[in-house]
Amino acid sequence: MAVIEPEVGSTILSIQQLSKVYAGGFAALKSVSLDIKAGEIIALLGPNGAGKTTLISTICGLVQPSSGRVLVAGHDITTDYRITRALIGLVPQELTTDSFETVWNTVSFSRGLFGRAPDPAHIERVLRSLSLWDKKDNMLRTLSGGMKRRVLIAKALSHEPRILFLDEPTAGVDVSLRKDMWAIVSDLRASGVTIILTTHYIEEAEEIADRIGVINHGELILVEEKRALMAKLGKKQLELELFDPLEGLPNSLAPFGLELSANGLKLIYTFDTTESGENNISSVLEALREAGITFKDLHTSQSSLEEIFVGLVNQPADGIAQGAAT
C-alpha cells in the first residue's frame, strides 16, 4: 500500500462537528471540531469521563461516530479507512497485551497488521529506543506494567505512523520511563510525526505540547496555543488590604490601572512578569505612600494552568455551553 507523507504545517487531522451518542443514549461527544497541523503536539486535558478516549477511539475506528466527520490527510475515516488507519498509531489507555506472545513477535505482528512488509531493522530500532531490546524474547506476561506500556508504544510505532495517539501514556509510569517517553516524543516530532496525547498531569501538557485542548462533558471547551496560555499564566496579581476604605482612586494612581473592590477595602494590581523587569510594584507602593494610603497586608498570586483548568471544568455543562457561545 502506498505511504502518504503529509507536509509539515498542512492540516493532517480535521475533526468536523463530531458527535457520539452511545447505545444507551449517552452523549459522549457533542459536536467537536478541531484541526490539527502535521508535526504538531496537542495535549487533551479533561476530567474522568470527559470524552477524551471516545474522541481518540472514534478517529482510530474503534467507535462509530454518530454524526460529523473526520478527515485524516484529507481522507474520510469511514470511506477511506485503509489510508487513514495506516497513517495512525494508537497507544490505548488500558494495558492490554497477549500474555503468551514474545515482545518481538507482538511488535512484528502489529507491523504486518497495518499492511507493512517485515522490516526487522525498524523493529530493532523501535525496541532499542524504548529500552526493550534485551526483553525482545520475553513473554509479555513476564513483563512489568511499565514495560507492557512500552510494548504498546512499540506496537503503535511498528508501522511508522504519521499520527500517534497516546491515551494517558504516563499513567502508572515511573520517572525514568516518563523521561524516556518524552525523549521519544521529541524524536518523533523531529521526524514530523503529529502527536495527540491525553493526560491528567498539567505540567506534562505544559512541558511538551504546542497546543492544549480541554474537554469536558463531551465538549471541547478550549483549544489554545500553549504560549498564549502561558501568557495568561504570566499574569500576577498584587492584592493590598487597606486599613481605611477608599471612596475612589486618587488621580496619582491612575497610570497603574488599579482595581478597587466594591467595599473599597482592597486594591488589586495586575502586572505581567514576562515583561522583563519593568513591573512597577515599587512605583505603585511609592505612589500609595505619597497618596497617604496605608495597608495592613499584601499578597501576590499567580493563576496556574491548573486553576484555569479546574475553573473551566467545574462549571455546570450548560453554563459552559453558554460561555462558549458568548
Partner: protein, 261 residues
Amino acid sequence: MSTILSRVMNYYAVLAIYKFEMARMRRTLLQSIVTPVLTTSLYFIVFGAAIGSRIQEVGGVGYGAFIVPGLIMLSLLTNSISNASFGIYFPKFSGTVYEVLSAPVSTLEVVLGYVGAAATKAIILGLIILATAGFFIELRIAHPIIMLLFIVLTALSFSLFGFILGIWADNFEKLSIVPALIITPLVFLGGSFYSTDMLPPVWQSISLMNPVLYLVSGLRWSFYEISEVNVWVSLVGVSLFLLVCLGVVYAIFRTGYRLRP
C-alpha cells in the same frame, strides 16, 4: 507474489493474523494431536470392537469403517467452532482486539486470517483422525476429491459460525454452550454411528430435519458411495450455510455489533 497481493489487499495483515492464530494453536500442539488420536482409538475400541461385533455390517460396510466419516465430522464441527470462537472471543475479552479494529483491514481480511487458521487446524485434526482410523480398519475412499471438498467446506463454514459465536458471546458459558448443547447432540443424532434405516419411520423423518445428517451422509458417500440423502443436496446445503455465515459476518462488521460501540 506478495507485492502483487499486497496491492489488492492487506496481505500482510491476513498473514499476520493467520500466523498469530496458528502460533496460538502450536502452543497446545501436543494436546491438539494426542486428544483426537486418543478419542478416535477409544471410539474404535468401544464402538468398533464391543458394539461392532454385534452390528456386523451397515449398508454393506463394516461397522468400524461405517463410523469413520461420523468421527471425522464430529471432530471437524467441534474443533472448527471452538477454534474460531475462542480466537475472536479472547481478544475481545482481554481488550487486545482494539488493534485489529484500528488496523487498515477489511472484513474479508479479518475473516481470512481468523477463520482460515481455525479451519486449517480443524482440517489437520480431521486428517489425523482419518490416519488413526487407518490403523484399526482398512480404509477405502471412493471419491477423495469430494471427501476433501466436504472436509474443507465443513471446516470453513463452521469456523465462520464459530467466529460469529465468539463475537456474540459475552461470557464463557455462552461460548461453550452451543458446541456442547447443540452441535454434539446433532452429531450423535445425525447418523454418525448408525444408519437412520435402523430407526422407526417417524424418527427417520425427524432425522431429516437435522442439518448434520446431511454433512455426515455426504462425507460417508465420498468414502463408500452409501448415503441417506443425495450427495449434491449435502454439498449445496453446506455451501449455502457457508454463504449465510459470510453474510452474517459482513452484517456484524457493517453494524459494528458487539465489536464497535
